[in-house]
Amino acid sequence: MAAIQLKNLHKRYESIDVMHHVNVDIEDGEFVALVGPSGCGKSTLLRLISGLEDITSGEILFDGKVVNRLSPAEREIAMVFQSYALYPHMTVKKNLSFGLENLNMDRAIIEERIQKAAKLLDLLPYMDRKPRALSGGQRQRVAIGRAIVRNPKVFLFDEPLSNLDAKLRVQTRGEITKLHKKLNTTMIYVTHDQVEAMTMAEKIVVVNAGKIEQVGKPLDLFERPANRFVAEFIGSPKMNMFKSKITNVSDSGIEVTSNTIDHFCIPVASENAKIGDSVTLGVRPSHIEIAESGIPLEITQLECMGHETFIYGSLKGESEDLVAHLPHHFEAEIGDTIYLRFSSQFMHVFCDKTDQAFKRIES
């Protein structure tokens, strides 16, 4: 087990900077998810931590010790690859034992560790099979088993569920979380799927274009996004955004007026706010209610799941469609006009110049 610190990490390929001065602290035994859109550098960050890739500048510390120059094996990490990367010419058993044999470990200890891992992951019936004779889920478990047998200080997962079908993905998600509880080892998990990150991780690191946008607990990121990117990336469907202007600033919050959805007084810290500044208002689809009167919306699309309903529609004067999420069944026809009510306490305000969010005043 190890606590990991990334200090001012920088990575450059030839003349292109791919990671910009990354600082992250990961506690011992923590389950951390690195999320971000495709190509944001989250996998690169994982490879830098693993030691498969050299860093250009900065420091990586494992338990306070600089490991910049150590190989993956010396860092005592284990990695589960997106493609699983099982050795195709070896049986499951050989796949599990290969890493231990490389360490010149005693045969008896190797056997004991393999048996333990195989039992834990339900792999005992397949020990003599080659990877090509296994299903996707079984291969996945072998890949995790190969990581477990080495008793690593840190587990690194590189989008391990992306090759599984939807049902198996949900199941494996639960298994990995359970595994973490059992082993209590530091785990770093890369995913582009924010649902995976929200459900599994204790801490989420949002990466965008080689920069860390925000680090925090899953709910923190959902309720208090630090900037526009995090607000739009976390939560599905995406947060509704409205162009607005600050019309009044007071100690209890700022007053914001939008062309389309009227004006609100939002309880956020007002230090950096100036009257006349253009800002963006953010409202999550689940924070929109249907009322007898209010802001009219013409329904363009309706998704009914039985227990919940998504309503898509356009507001007059807004270019982007609005999405509302109702936690119950809702009968309506496309083309109907309904009335919406927004409550200001769940609204987010982002400065247009910096894209940063105004801090919420906690009540």
Binding site: S50, L52, S71, P72, A73, I77, A78, M79, F81, Q82, S83, Y84, A85, L86, Y87, P88, H89, F98, G99, N102, L103, K130, P131, R132, R139, R146, R150, N163
Partner: protein, 347 residues
């Protein structure tokens, strides 16, 4: 087997494609198989029969018999008499269109018959001495020993060196990688005859002239092998190598335990090529080797080819023997060629 051979494109119905593919495959088989069959059959013929015209398919030889009153054996001929009676006679001599023959049962009396009435009797006879004679007459076992040594050692070194070069060129990033690869490939364009003299000078400089190692060293690094293995190794996912690196495997262990086993099909192909090249190699060993105890089989076979005469029956017999090892190597390794191992563990 019969079911396999009589398969048709549509169930129970002959199609034009069936006929065409049968024709094509039969033609292909004939083109490949007839020369080999011809060489094998001819290797069992007598020297006279190899050179006879019109050629015969099955090895035959003349029937000779001992006749009283004659020192030498006489050949037996079939005499079709004008009255239709057929009799076996022995030929004494033949002048123009007249032949002097003797009745085998009644040797005192000689007969004059026109040659058009007699035909020589032949029976099927395999000349196994074509195979046994050279074994006694010339140092076959030394030659084959040398050839096996050169072939085995050169093939092992070829596989090792070429796969190491291919591993570096396909799986490592370093400056000048492509330049080195192009340089290796460009040597493909230089035929042996161009570099023969400088290569020989190098071998002499290394004190390896008239030495089997001189034959081996000059041939182990083949651009074809490096190219083939590199292309194959490019298809091995980098993830596997990184997984092994995470698994604390040394770079050599990655090469030995991961990359080489996954390259088995490509290595098998290269092994077959290398065995065939080295086994059939003629020009280079001829240049390097000068004393008969170092001769390889192909150089040894050359001894049957004199300035004025060619002992075809011996050459053919030894060629058939020389074919055997290559055939065995091909039979053993051919299943690896079609067996694609790599890639199946990923996704």
């Amino acid at each position: 087997m019969l079911k396999f051979l009589t398969r048709t494109r549509h169930h129970g119905k002959m199609d034009i494609t069936d006929i065409l593919s049968w024709l094509w495959l039969t033609l292909g088989t004939a083109v490949i198989a007839i020369p080999i069959a011809w060489a094998m059959l001819s290797s069992l013929k007598t020297e006279a029969e190899v050179n006879s015209f019109p050629p015969s398919l099955i090895p035959q030889s003349t029937v000779n018999t001992q006749v009283e009153g004659y020192d030498k054996d006489l050949s037996v001929w079939k005499w079709t008499q004008p009255n239709g009676e057929i009799k076996n006679v022995a030929l004494v001599r033949r002048i123009g269109i007249k032949a002097t023959v003797v009745d085998i049962d009644n040797p005192e009396k000689t007969l004059q018959v026109p040659t058009s009435e007699i035909t020589q009797l032949k029976d099927v006879n395999f000349q196994w001495q074509n195979y046994t004679d050279p074994l006694e007459r010339f140092d076959f076992f030394t030659y084959i020993n040398n050839t096996v040594f050169v072939t085995v050692v050169a093939t092992i070194l070829t596989l090792l060196l070429n796969s190491m070069a291919a591993f570096a060129l396909s799986k490592y990033k370093f400056r000048g990688k492509n330049a080195i690869f192009m340089l290796i490939l460009s040597t493909l364009m230089l035929p042996l005859s161009v570099i023969m003299v400088p290569a020989f000078i190098v071998i002499v400089g290394l004190n390896l002239a008239d030495n089997l190692w001189g034959v081996i060293f000059a041939t182990v690094a083949t651009p074809t092998g490096v190219f083939m293995l590199r292309q194959y190794m490019l298809t091995i996912p980098d993830d596997l190598i990184e997984a092994a690196r995470v698994d604390a495997a040394s770079e050599f262990r990655i090469y030995w335990r991961i990359v080489l086993p996954l390259c088995a099909p490509a290595l098998a192909v290269l092994a077959i090529f290398s065995v065939i090249w080295r086994w059939n190699d003629f020009l280079w060993p001829l240049i390097v080797l000068s004393s008969p105890e170092n001769y390889t089989l192909q150089i040894g076979l050359n001894a049957f080819q004199g300035q004025f005469s060619v002992e075809w029956h011996y050459i053919l017999a030894m060629t058939v023997i020389a074919l055997i090892p290559v055939t065995i190597v091909f039979l053993v390794l051919q299943k690896y060629i079609t067996e694609g191992v790599a890639g199946s563990g990923v996704k």
